[in-house]
Symmetry: C2
DNA sequence: CGCACTTTTGATGACCATCAATGGGAGTGG
DNA sequence: CCACTCCCATTGATGGTCATCAAAAGTGCG
């Protein structure tokens, strides 16, 4: 009934317009959802971390490209039986509605970032978002000094943030120079002071989102 | 059980953080959903046209500001009975999931616009969006010469498109000078050639989204 | 008619994209 | 072990697009 599928970094999981015959959730790794214009400009519209859901019941065709950013393990269900289950257990349908509403909120928060924030604010928002998710995984509050793995290339970050990879690199360098962050190798970052960075994100001071 | 409420242009319908004790759908008029940063920068995250749904079951607090752009009539249900109804009629829950998925797709399409499109492409995308919705209301295909009412100030358009009102005005003037559009008074526009404008939007040539 | 509001148009400059070159790890093979 | 390569990241130089500041023109209404 359920089965595990794994993908290598860079490998497509599903392509826009493809028939989707499964739904699933991320067990380990990071996957990205992207849209592109005909001339190649691309925008990431979702970042799938462990526990995130991929796919949509009652939708035949994939609306975006999903690509593995790291090695990814998915826990998959075939779509038909899943939809069957949804009809028989209303609790599942409600849960799915909840999750979709959360995704909608996240997408709209990102609209604010893409439409109105400066490059610096975008980087700060992104890093604090990762820090919050990291903390949430361990049932902790984010704060103080934190290390986060970002598992994305500069280019992928740029696609998420609506910037170029050069601008991402420059902003990260600036934050490093100012001592707000430290680099650990290429793919990990230490936030020396979570609150300081959160203030740079442009959002309301508290920045907290209630459950 | 259900009742109609109306709002004057500029009047807030609900404010971020407010307790939401109703859900409803737009009968006539146009309402906007917006988010703001502390320093006042504003981004519209949703445009509610007739038949659109406002509010979210199982969410106590409003996540955004909703404001009437024109005179708006809402058909409202009290939230508690509505949630009751949702539990008892699974069909309703499914319908709501459908609608939420549609909103999510729309939000993500807008992320692509906000992150990657030029000012000109944003205007073209916006006008063709309105034209499509207008056509859909009358169960027609968009195409050829079409008149659309935009019911929004330049500033509201700017907030939707992630631009300034001056840039919106300039791009509209340019399109007019090129004969792609004509102005009818201040709040209506004639697209002299829908297809021509659709090509300017930067999306795939066909631009069609399947049901 | 006069006032408030919206829109248009102009002048200037900032921020970020673009183009280009350099730097640095990780992996491979001589 | 050390070239050598590939990929990714950094840094620099320059320019374009759009934001900002400012003023004028158009529209609607009491």
């Amino acid at each position: 009934m359920k089965l595990y599928r794994s993908f290598e970094p860079g490998q497509p999981i599903i392509w826009e317009g493809d028939r989707m015959d499964f739904v699933g959730s991320v067990v380990t790794g990071v996957a990205t959802l992207t849209q592109t214009l005909e001339d190649g400009r691309t925008q990431m519209v979702g970042l799938l971390l462990p526990s995130d859901f991929l796919g949509r019941p009652s939708r035949d065709l994939a609306p975006y490209n999903a690509v593995a950013a790291t090695r990814v393990v998915l826990c998959c269900f075939r779509r038909k039986p899943f939809e069957q289950m949804m009809r028989s257990t209303p609790h599942l349908a409600h849960r799915l509605l909840e999750m979709t509403l959360d995704e909608l909120d996240a997408a709209r928060e990102w609209m604010l970032l893409l439409g109105r924030k400066t490059a610096r604010e975008r980087i700060a928002s992104f890093l604090t978002l990762l820090a919050r998710r990291e903390a949430a995984l361990h049932k902790r509050q984010p704060g103080g000094r934190m290390q986060i793995d970002l598992a994305l290339t500069r280019e992928a970050m740029a696609d998420y943030l609506g910037l170029t990879l050069e601008t991402v690199s420059r902003q990260i360098s600036t934050l490093k120079r100012e001592g707000v962050i430290e680099l650990v190798g290429k793919r990990a970052i230490i936030l020396t002071d979570f609150e300081r960075l959160a203030e740079e994100s442009g959002d309301d001071a508290d920045g907290g989102y209630p459950d």
